[in-house]
Amino acid sequence: MAKEPRVDSMSCHSGFVFTDDFTSYRFRDDHPFNQMRVVLTKELLEASSALRQDHFITPRHATEEELSLAHSRTYIQAVKQAGEGLLSEEDGMEFGIGTEDTPMFKGMHEASSLLVGSTLSAIEAVMENQVKHALNLGGGLHHGFERKASGFCIYNDGAVGIKYLRKKYNCKVLYVDTDAHHGDGVQWAFYDDPNVCTFSIHETGRYLFPGTGNVNERGLKEGYGYSFNLPIDAFTEDESFLQVYETALKEIVHYFKPDVIVTQNGADAHFLDPLTHLCSTMKIYERIPALAHELAHQYCGGKWIALGGGGYDIWRVVPRAWAQIWKVMSDGTPFQGPLPKDWLKKWEKESPVPLPENWHDPEDAYNPIPRKKEITEKNEKLLEKSLQLITNQKKYNSL
């Protein structure tokens, strides 16, 4: 199958989309969604000598035309008005704007269309062969709907980006979402499209927002069989997470054979994340990009665009997790050992919590999970159900 050699130690020319203006996407001082994470990650990479000037891609804003690929014009108008202080609280409700999750803020249209534009810049760089892979940590806002903001997301850069890939390059897109929350906005945007396959692994929606992402959400009409979900149990740990994720992803890629892979790399499945109840460590944040990298080379001639996403422990978790994506993407191996001293020194004064000193988490970082065996077993069953259609097809083909 392998069209290209092993990629474990492969250096790939990659692009890092960045601008300081990412931080203009800020709802409120005490809001958990904080793009300072991207700055912290970038500086961590620079302090580790992994990011150079020629890696940077300067993003553009998405045009209204581009936003309307995945959003209604009335919604875009409402966001614009809200950003100018011209939308009343009542009028905002219909569009999910002005809630606790997505409050109005000055310039919200510009800040949000920059995040979408940065994903488009990443896509263009890859599709025009300027780079093999591209990373836009400012994007991955997967809860945005056609005419509704929700879950900290205003415009859905992933959905706009995939529509753009379909329209401009006419390719088959695999969207892989490893955020701890279900990637609902992107799933519903392509639910009936057989040329876009979505796969989301997330904490079960029994308690956690948004509540969807059940294993039986498989797509609609022509899109049936092109939507995959793995709603794993709360308190799932590294071993079980990686076991089901790796099996599912490999099966799905082989079944769908995409031309390009778009990953949403939310970093909120970590045991320290305040909003979710999964119990993974840094281990999964090395393996997730490594798998995407390997499969992109095997099936897509390397075409891989990685986005950011959730991640609410912005000091101890997100910078390390996201820096590993870049490291794996650009030279094939993850960081190991201690974090650079300069970075720690600069930020330890700002951080409200003690910063970790190593790239890896210590073995006994959290108390043992009493229901581990049961959780592992439940996740295995789930994997079987999620891949049912692929398994059936294989059986049928072998008859």
């Binding site: 879950g151 900290f152 029994r206 948004p210």
Partner: protein, 215 residues
């Protein structure tokens, strides 16, 4: 909630003289499991389920591909009298009928005429709507003392946070009847401030438990 709010009004029916074969075909083509049998005035005089029809069909092991049994009129196998409900009955009553009579479908009639149908699937769909799990939300479970006035007190905490509630359910707290569990689905991705408020007010939050180090 009233029956007329959840019933289906486009009902596929049969007249009593039609054949079992027609019934079999209708059930199969429309992916349904029940056919009300109506007379020329649209009065419900019987009902057949997919199992009734299958029981009356020849075994799949029979050699003969076009057996006579299938040509018998449907009135010979229909069930009657039929349990029906009125459009203004409560949905809860339909649930009780399904449970007690161990059936899965009731025709809805007004002045004896067929106006709709409710199946167990419609019932389950309604239940899903009641639990609020079909819209984006997070779930919080609060254990409270079982006494008058407690519900508005708890709800006030949500109101002050301006967080919209998509559903509220109240369950018994099995280990101790002095308590109840209030299950609230709220439309936010960040339930933490609300949980903090609840704790400050002295309520015990059963879920979500604090993640991370404090399991």
């Amino acid at each position: 909630m009233l029956v007329e709010e959840i019933m289906k009004t486009e009902v596929i029916t049969l007249s009593p003289e039609e054949t079992i074969e027609t019934a079999l075909k209708l059930l199969h083509e429309n992916h349904i499991r029940h056919l009300p049998i109506v007379d020329e005035n649209n009065v419900v005089i019987g009902i057949v389920s997919d199992r009734d029809v299958r029981d009356a069909s020849p075994s799949i092991f029979e050699e003969d591909a076009t057996p006579d049994e299938l040509q018998n009129p449907i009135r010979t196998i229909m069930t009657f009298p039929v349990t029906t409900v009125h459009p203004l009955d409560f949905v809860e009553e339909v649930a009780s009928i399904f449970y007690e009579q161990e059936i899965a479908c009731v025709p809805v009639t007004r002045d004896d005429l067929l106006v709709g149908i409710i199946t167990e699937k419609d019932m389950l769909y309604t239940l899903i709507q009641l639990t609020g799990t079909h819209v984006q939300s997070s779930q919080i479970e609060v254990k409270v003392i079982n006494k008058p006035g407690i519900l508005p007190q708890v709800m006030q905490v949500f109101g002050q946070r301006k967080v919209n509630i998509s559903s509220v359910l109240i369950y018994p707290y099995k280990p101790d009847p002095k308590y109840k569990v209030i299950v609230v689905r709220i439309q936010t991705m960040n339930p933490l401030p609300t949980i903090e408020d609840l704790k400050t007010e002295g309520y015990e939050v059963l879920w979500p438990k604090s993640p991370g180090l404090t399991l």
